[in-house]
Amino acid sequence: MKPIGLLATLAYTLLLTVLFQGKPLQQSIEDGALIYQDFCLQCHQSKGQGVPGSFPPLAESDYLKNNLIQSIQGVKYGMRGPIVVNGIPYDKLMAPQGLDDEEVADVMNYILNNWGNSAPAAITEAQVRAIERP
């Protein structure tokens, strides 16, 4: 890459960072993949397929699609009580994982951009910060 191109890329990245107060979506997805492997994979499985009846799927999940705020709340604060995901009932506890707001945004972006899911828009750290306890 020519120095001028590199400079332009840097400037553009910086501009994006300033404008959106967060990192580029692609970077967020990559960071989220690591969080997913470390914190989520054991229950929700490697392709987000979950375990029917025990751990709800994240891949093509109607709950996730229709309850985005509750889903972010769940990752941020933990989740309990009965829910129905793709027609199957679940009633387990998901303990809070101790992720910071940036990590919650990253792992949400990873989940929302994988396994056939289509993200409405990138989740930002600021958005996660604003979400309060249910």
């Binding site: 470390d38 914190f39 994979l41 054991q42 490697s46 309990r80 387990k92 506890l93 303990a95 809070p96 994982q97 101790g98 992720l99």
Partner: protein
């Protein structure tokens, strides 16, 4: 080309069968059930540790960082814990009464903490005095594993004592298997042994060796979340989570290397191999191993409160949501049985002062198994 493909498939198939093969004996559902259960206390999400002061009174740790004193089924928070680092599988972990609790009110607990600043956390052992059943005083940090990391995985932890004034506790490999469990200069993937004041016993197996964590008693562990002392022999039994398959029961002895990750009966969660070795010289074979994994947590021996179960080993299964009963004859597991099928994720099992088995069940609380009639 074709023979290569065939060879590839054969390798793949043999790999599948070798790893998917269930270890014997197969788990059974009991034909007659002459026991039931009663709730002791509810509303505790992840009841990690239990320590009985009397049959009617016990301490319970909740992983999110709350210590409860439960008196006749009523729970009350005990104040005075240090700041707990709650992340992934880490948080407030086990609790145990010191051998001299009756006189000193001294208890011990393990927890994920960050005492040094910087990012992340690691497992630590504390002692404290239970003052008037309401607060902890003289909270003493006895051991802190380093370095702090932000990884979610494998903090351990369980605590037991021997009769000679030592405390044993476990710390998992902190998700860094290539670095921690086989390296005696590093924390993680170890069973530790200390004197009750936190000092290192002179007869610990690696005392005096250069660049060594002298508190280490045994190594090559992955993530031990069950440990108990055999009521008759005084020998320490522990189990640990394997990866996919390869959970192990081990008899813990000084200086032993239990092999993780050089040898294992498990594979990666993704299905890929960790190693093709299940045994190597200088590394201990497990007393028993589970394939598939049950995700064991908590461990206790049955008392004569259950005549049919005396001397049997009981292990909680997080994954299958039952208590597993293992019958042992001539040093071999000859029978496995599901107790309280579908009860929920069994985080802990302890034999109470009354000889009954007490279970910590996630999302529920503490319950006890009561013989019928």
């Amino acid at each position: 080309m074709k023979s290569y493909t065939l060879f590839g498939w054969l390798t793949f198939l043999s790999f599948l069968t070798s790893c998917a093969q269930e270890n014997t004996p197969p788990i059974q559902t009991p034909t007659t059930i002459d026991y039931t259960y009663e709730m002791v206390v509810d509303g505790i999400d992840i009841p990690w540790g239990m320590a009985f002061i009397s049959t009617d009174q016990l301490l319970v740790t909740e992983k999110s960082g709350v210590l409860y004193l439960v008196t006749k089924g009523v729970k009350k928070e005990v104040k005075g814990l240090p700041s707990i680092y709650v992340r992934g599988q880490g948080g407030l972990l086990d609790v145990a009464l010191g051998p001299d609790f009756e006189n000193t009110k001294r208890l011990f607990f393990t927890a994920a903490v960050n005492t040094e600043g910087g990012k992340g956390g690691n497992t630590a052992l504390y002692s404290a005095i239970l003052k008037d059943n309401v607060t902890l005083e003289d909270v003493n940090l006895l051991y802190k594993a380093v370095p702090n990391t932000k990884t979610a995985q494998h903090w351990g932890s369980r605590i037991v004592f021997d009769q000679e004034g030592h405390i044993f506790f476990t710390i998992g490999d902190r998700g860094n298997r290539e670095v921690n469990p086989q390296d005696l200069s590093r924390d993680g993937g170890k069973v530790y042994r200390l004197n009750l004041d936190g000092s290192i016993p002179n007869d610990n197996p690696f005392v005096g060796q250069d660049n060594t964590k002298e508190a280490v008693y045994s190594y090559g562990h992955r993530n031990p979340q069950g440990m108990t002392v055999h009521p008759k022999t005084g020998v320490i039994w522990a189990h640990e989570h394997g990866p996919r398959g390869g959970d192990e029961i081990n008899i813990i002895q000084a200086g032993n290397n239990y092999g993780w990750p050089e040898i294992t009966y498990g594979i990666n969660y993704s299905g890929t191999r960790i190693t093709n070795k299940t045994r190597l010289p200088g590394m201990e074979q497990p007393y028993y191993y589970w394939v598939p994994s049950i995700a064991p947590s908590g461990m206790a021996f049955g008392s004569n409160a259950y005549p049919e179960w005396e001397g049997n080993l009981f292990v909680g299964s997080l994954h299958f949501e039952y208590l597993e009963r293992l019958v042992i004859k001539n040093n071999t597991v000859v029978k496995r049985e599901k107790i309280l099928e579908d009860i929920g994720r069994v985080r802990n099992v302890v034999t109470g002062p009354d000889g009954l088995l007490y279970l910590g069940v996630e999302g529920k609380g503490i319950l006890k198994i009561v013989p019928k009639g």
